[in-house]
Symmetry: C2
Subunit: 338 residues, 2 copies
DNA sequence: TTGAAAGCGCTAACAT
DNA sequence: ATGTTAGCGCTTTCAA
């Protein structure tokens, strides 16, 4: 079934059917009705390939989850990326876009992965959720080819040339540590997330600022460099314990880290929050699924995906040409662990 | 940049370039080399719209996650669907397909959702991960239009006309309950998953068979109908407690249910496994993230996605026309909760 | 307000 | 082994 068949059945020309489908104003009510009726009866929808070929638009966006598979969807935080995708998906479909999902294959290099994406010409633009150190190839090619894209998270390079959506990690981390300070804690440690990632870097920066603003000095013995996983949280907490430096609170780079840390502290008989307070970041479901419920910073994950997609579609449709940066608000959620 | 530009630079015709790109045998080594060199230099890849238009193939598959959003990606088990998607994605890309992801929008009806998918003509076929009661519209239309598709999970209708990949839930559930029986448990209750879903139905069936095979009688007071979520597990466990019927073990429809049940039992002072044994289904990460570690049935989630995709691509490419059903093996994983 | 016709970039049948 | 040519099903001038 094609346009021409509809045209014939409706007694009009191809062009008129096309006009009806595309909402052109210059069609009489009468013919419009007739044509819509035939389309409805036949359950017709236009061939997207033919349309793409002439319009040079696909109405498809790509979503790139560029962290290594195991980190993205494995043990700890599938929730985070799942919600991101849901936010993108909802918004995309609101604007009649479909969504091509790109996941790194376990048996391929990052370079191959990016090549695969770049070679695919089925997308009008990309939403990229990835730690950005590794994707110079991707970012460079995209910038060079003028392909519209929006980053989820602050890029470490070209910050002013790139549209992105994030939260104010520095400010949020400060808020977290200030909360611990307000509880009377003074020996506040931190277990960072990945420090090749703006989220990790900025949260550490916020920690330091809060400590300094309180008139304390930043003590390297209180800082452990981890990754955004539960296992790393566990390991880094043990490292802190082994160092022997007294601590009465920990600011964790995210909730997964916090859960691992709680486990480590609990195992050696420390009580949370009595002996040691813990605060996380994200407010994932795991935050409230075990005792003690986790005090944490809530960030609007779904909205991050949604706003990024709106931004991308604006870019694709030629609205708002210059790079835009959006920081979404966060919220301190006080529970039992602090 | 198009085929013709490459042709010109390589000093050959459009068709020859096309032949090289599509691996046609009838090209001399010399020209093939020349053409590939130009393609490489220019970073050319062919316009998929043009190719689709003539080949009537898109090399795109769709993945439909048709449960309500909240159930798919929310609190409990994003892990399950995430891994499914990863399995599909890996396999799709092995065969040079891209993957269009379909998530139900929070503000749309199932019917609208399915219409949206059916109207999109950008896919050669579909992998459908959904409880199947609700998608008569989808299945019917797909069957009628001869669109290739593969179901993840056994369909409740048209079972012999439909290709699907699942595990042998009946047998697996029997294995689970037999394990409890072997531990000397005799008052074995079950908290089912959704009973409008083949997984839920078949696991209940397996439970009943195991009970009967052991010479016991199925007691309705030991059966609670739940859903595949932690919350339902919690609620149904409380229901069991309120009924007052003595129980010494619970077969949960999945791990999320099991976790909720453990919480409910622990809250009233029951010890797992001393007072009550629990067994789950899936073997998600949550199974080992809290004490006691959960005894459960492991199912190969990634492989489910992978096999379904292979099946789908076979269908698309005209191999193996008749509907195929695949049941993947499961495994009893004995841990602390039993 | 409508129709005729050109052309988007590719593949594949046919010719050579 | 390579080139020529006719579409694939749409949108979009241009003309009427």
């Amino acid at each position: 079934m094609k346009l021409e068949d509809i045209a014939e059945k409706a007694g009009v020309s191809r062009s008129t059917v096309s006009r009806v489908i595309n909402g052109d104003r210059y069609v009489s009510e009468k013919t419009r009705h007739k044509v819509l009726e035939v389309i409805e009866n036949e359950g017709f929808s236009p061939n997207p390939a033919a349309r793409m070929l002439v319009t040079q638009r696909t109405d498809v966006i790509g979503v790139v989850l560029a962290n290594r598979v195991e980190e993205v969807f494995s043990a700890d935080s599938p929730y985070y990326f799942s919600n991101l995708i849901q936010g993108v998906s909802d918004t995309a479909h609101d604007h009649d876009f479909s969504m091509l999902l790109w996941l790194e294959h376990s048996r391929e290099s990052v370079e191959q992965f990016y090549q695969r994406i770049l070679k695919n010409r089925l997308m009008d633009g990309l939403v990229i959720a990835a730690s950005v150190t590794r994707e110079n190839l991707l970012l460079n090619s995209l910038l060079k080819s003028q392909t519209p894209f929006v980053l989820l998270g602050r890029p470490l390079q070209y910050e002013d040339q790139i549209s992105y959506v994030s939260v104010d990690n520095v400010q949020a981390a400060q808020m977290a540590v200030q909360h611990l300070l307000a509880q009377g804690r003074r020996r506040i440690a931190t277990i960072t997330g990945n420090l090749d990632d703006a989220d990790g870097i900025d949260r550490l920066e916020g920690y330091k600022r809060a400590i300094q603003n309180a008139g304390l000095t930043v003590d390297q013995a209180l800082i452990t460099e981890g990754r955004f996983t539960r296992d790393w949280g566990y390991l880094c907490a043990r490292t802190l314990l082994q160092r022997g430096t007294p601590i009465d609170a920990v600011f964790a780079g995210n909730d997964a880290i916090a859960m691992g840390a709680i486990q480590a502290f609990t195992e050696v008989g420390l009580r949370v929050p009595d002996d040691i307070a813990i605060i996380g970041f994200d407010d994932l479901p795991i935050a409230t699924q075990n005792a003690p419920h986790l005090t944490t910073i809530r960030q609007p994950i779904l909205q991050k995906g949604a706003r990024a997609t709106i931004l991308l579609i604006d870019l694709i449709e030629g609205r708002g040409q210059q790079p835009t940066q959006i920081l979404l608000p966060t919220q301190l959620v006080i529970r039992q662990s602090s």
